[in-house]
């Protein structure tokens, strides 16, 4: 990096709020999302889903469907060929390919209501629907289990005969629904509890909630006769889709080109595949393009959610409020296949605080629910709900201000986390101080209302990214990003390139490339794009600057050491040369004569991501006769390093807060006695609407830029969903007069708690 972490005052583009490069397409309806593609000869694909929560598939008879006029292909799990299997990096970490495949089309067993069992491709949606009815599936219905505690119980129906708990010694003799037991900790927990002045404890639970992106999953797949295939889809990672399709269908990666559509929200839920391998398998069978679009009901039944959790927590502290020890057990729903983010829950639970003695135990538990997918800071919000509630109890017990107790215990640079990282460039304490000084916190709580405070953490990651910078012959620039733009990242990529190149933002455009047009990149997720792909963009732009300086030096016949790049032009610093600066435009127009096209592509494995910390304040009131909660004021603060485009950073804070408020108050998966989902619609899965929320004030804390990023950026997308659950619950608990330990805080639950008191 030429001058890593440039000072804010010198910056001309970074920190401004320009209109995003893809903005006009998005406000005029021109932007092409997953379901907007249409190819000649395209067929409609539909998926037949299990009506049962748990059933053995005895037989699938597709003959009648195949005989129906207009049906061109029928597929089942038998059409997949996962070969050696292996693992692929998906939203929550390593994911077994065989399980992703079996989630796309069931193999042997239907493990939840809505589990895909077969698929058809037909010449019209009506024929496809009729064909689904003609597929006869013979099931042996099995006992099901939905609840996480019931799934752990000894007599629970077992989902997978070959699932033995990992992390237990000796290896268990019997299969169970506990996929993994995670243990981590340090110090002497029993000793610290024995020596404690005060202790608090609690039993907490949260419901499964869905990411709730407004765009349902959608894709078009076209298999070529020579095997070369194209997939258009909305996902958080075109390379991830390619990898999973290749492994599930046993195809070479280079035969699959994945073209990223615009993506209508993901929040982690589009870091895996549901439809793409199915559409490609159908297309392989009939040689025609196949489009599959999920209905909203299918989205709820068969994609996404994140884990519901059951947690027990105990804290020990001194009289002064210093937390000396914590013990916590976390049980997370994984859904039908192993892979809940419980390990991330354990790692993040106390990441905001300096606690010497820790004991954390996590259980990853399968049950007859859809397989969980990553959701914004996967695993962290539930854990933080328990931790931040317990700290609130501690503050009450000691008569301390809720921000003060968090400052007292807050992590500072140099401290050690339980998962091995050392805290660095961390502004957690400064952030809390700014939050405390904010007019919201300084305003007394209005009569009849209560105020809750809570904090949250996310690691943020770096990883593999590629980017290219192309200088056009007229001096304009195109930045080629490798990551789908889910929330305005084209803007930040273009801004960082413009800053390095000294160009006005209008001269820089940004495009998102398909898998054949740019080097590999990890997915858009983990709050990594502005950091990692941004770093690749900066490095590519810096290489271009070096090239431009070289060309200017050649033009002037001077040493390159005497050429500086200032405000988009090469300037000669050799006093012996009387030459005018050479602008980008001038250099670009001569590129053919000075060495050919000016372009650079950089692929990196970005190291040095800095963690993010947030803290939120929520004021709310409750209708005492109905238990209905109204959020009246909300402020979110976050340690962001440096905001590249502050509006989009604020937007991340506001959007995450809104999702967290929904999680706290009304969102949940509701199951009936047969293990079927009762509320698979936006009508009854109640996400916040515009009239449910107040304005959401934000504080972007920029006192500790990340020294490992050219402009100091830290990931910002995940943290904002971590604090709201407890911020809301802490306020509700005050009004109710007792600790609210189960989410969501629905009107009936709150009223019952008020009446119990």
């Amino acid at each position: 990096m030429s001058d890593g972490n440039q000072g804010g005052s010198k910056l001309k583009v970074v920190g401004q709020r320009p209109v995003r490069p893809d903005g006009v397409d998005k406000v005029t309806g021109r932007a092409m999302f997953g379901a907007d593609f249409h190819l000649p000869g395209m067929l409609t694909g539909r998926i037949k889903r299990s009506p049962h929560a748990h059933a053995r598939i005895i037989r699938i008879d597709t003959s009648a469907a195949e005989a129906l006029a207009g049906v061109k292909a029928v597929a089942t799990g038998a059409d997949f060929d996962t070969g050696a299997g292996g693992e692929v990096e998906a939203g929550e970490g390593a994911t077994a390919v065989k399980e992703v495949a079996a989630n796309c089309l069931a193999m042997g067993k239907a493990l939840y209501q809505g589990h895909a069992v077969a698929a058809v491709a037909a010449t019209s949606p009506e024929i496809a629907a009729e064909a689904l009815d003609l597929i006869e599936v013979t099931y042996e219905v099995l006992p099901h289990v939905i609840d996480v505690e019931e799934a752990i119980a000894a007599n629970a129906p077992v989902l997978h005969d070959d699932l033995f708990t990992t992390g237990v010694t000796p290896k268990p003799a019997k299969p169970s629904n506990v996929a993994v037991k995670t243990v981590m900790g340090r110090g002497d927990v029993p000793g610290a509890f024995a020596a404690a002045d005060v202790t608090v404890e609690g039993h907490y639970s949260t419901a499964a909630v869905h990411q709730g992106y407004i765009e349902p999953h959608a894709c078009v797949a076209s298999f070529g006769a020579d095997g070369q295939s194209v997939v258009w889809c909305s996902s958080q990672g075109q390379f991830l889709v390619r990898a999973l399709c290749a492994k599930i269908l046993n195809m070479p990666l280079s035969d699959i080109k994945v073209i990223p559509a615009e993506i209508g929200g993901g929040f982690g839920g589009k870091t895996t595949v549901y439809l793409e391998p199915v559409a490609l398998a159908l297309s392989r069978k009939c040689g025609r393009p196949v489009k599959i679009v999920m209905s909203r009901e299918e989205v709820f039944l068969a994609s996404g959610p994140t884990s519901g959790a059951v947690m027990d927590i105990k804290l020990a502290a001194t009289e002064a409020g210093k937390i000396t020890a914590a013990e916590m057990t976390l049980k997370y729903q994984a859904g039908a296949f192993p892979g809940s983010p419980v390990h991330l829950g354990c790692m993040t639970a106390f990441a905001c605080y300096d606690v010497e003695n820790l004991a954390l135990t996590g259980y990853d538990v399968v049950s007859n629910r859809p397989k969980v997918a990553a959701y914004r800071a996967p695993g962290a919000p539930m854990a933080a709900f328990a931790v931040e509630s317990a700290i609130d109890d501690l503050a009450k017990k000691l008569g301390m201000d809720p921000i003060d107790i968090r400052i007292l215990n807050g992590v500072r640079d140099g401290m050690k986390t339980v998962y091995g990282a050392t805290v660095r460039s961390c502004a957690f304490v400064e952030m809390l101080e700014q939050l405390k000084a904010h007019p919201h916190y300084q305003t007394p709580v209005a009569a009849g209302q209560a105020r809750g405070v809570a904090a949250g953490f996310w690691f943020n990651i770096g990883g593999e990214s590629s980017a290219a910078v192309h200088v056009d012959e007229d001096g304009g620039v195109t930045v080629v990003s490798s990551n789908p733009d889910i929330g305005g990242s084209r803007a930040s990529m273009a801004m960082m390139a413009a800053e390095v190149l000294g160009l006005p933002i209008e001269k820089v455009r940004c495009t998102v490339a398909d898998t054949t047009s740019i080097g590999f990149s990890g997915s858009t997720g983990g709050s990594r794009v502005t950091f990692a792909t941004g770093m690749a963009v900066c490095q590519a732009a810096e290489k271009v600057v070096v090239d431009l300086k070289r060309r200017a030096a050649a033009t002037w016949e001077c040493d390159i050491a005497n050429v500086e790049w200032r405000d988009g032009a090469a300037v000669c610093t050799d006093p012996a040369k009387d030459v005018k600066p050479l602008s980008m435009k001038a250099l670009a127009s001569k590129s053919a004569k000075t060495g050919g096209p000016i372009a650079s592509e950089v692929s990196i494995n970005a190291q040095g991501a800095a963690a993010g910390y947030g803290a939120h304040i929520c004021d709310l009131q409750i209708d005492r006769e109905t238990g209905r909660t109204t959020v009246v004021r909300y402020t979110a603060a976050q340690d962001v390093g440096r905001a590249i485009h502050p509006s989009y950073v604020e937007g991340q804070l506001q959007g995450g807060a809104a999702q967290g408020v929904g999680w706290a108050l009304n969102e949940e998966y509701v199951y009936g006695p047969k293990g079927t989902l009762d509320n698979a619609s936006f009508l009854d899965y109640r996400m916040p609407v515009a009239s449910d929320l107040p304005m959401i004030d934000t504080i972007l804390v920029e006192t500790k830029p990340n020294p490992r990023h050219p402009f100091g950026a830290k990931g910002v997308g995940e943290v904002p969903i971590v604090p709201p659950l407890a911020a809301v619950a802490n306020a509700v608990s005050q009004i109710v007069g007792k600790r609210m330990t189960s989410l969501p805080l629905s009107p009936a639950r709150v009223l019952a708690a008020m009446e119990e008191k």
Partner: protein
Amino acid sequence: MPRVQSISSRVRDFTGGLDAFDVEARTVRALIRELDARFPGLGELVEENMAIAIDGEIFQDALGASLGEASEIVLIPKISGG
């Protein structure tokens, strides 16, 4: 001798429940060879599917990194996100 700790349950299955042990190695490549020698299969697991924290910094891909006499190494599951 560098001290290796693990917070991964999968590692525990290879080590017979051990969460901390010393390994004589000065590079991550050597560490992985050493892990495979002592706990067959563990080195490969770490190389393919795990992140490593070395003296407080998390590496998603640490093969080239060197280790000090008193390095603290933590084997952790790879972190992704939403």
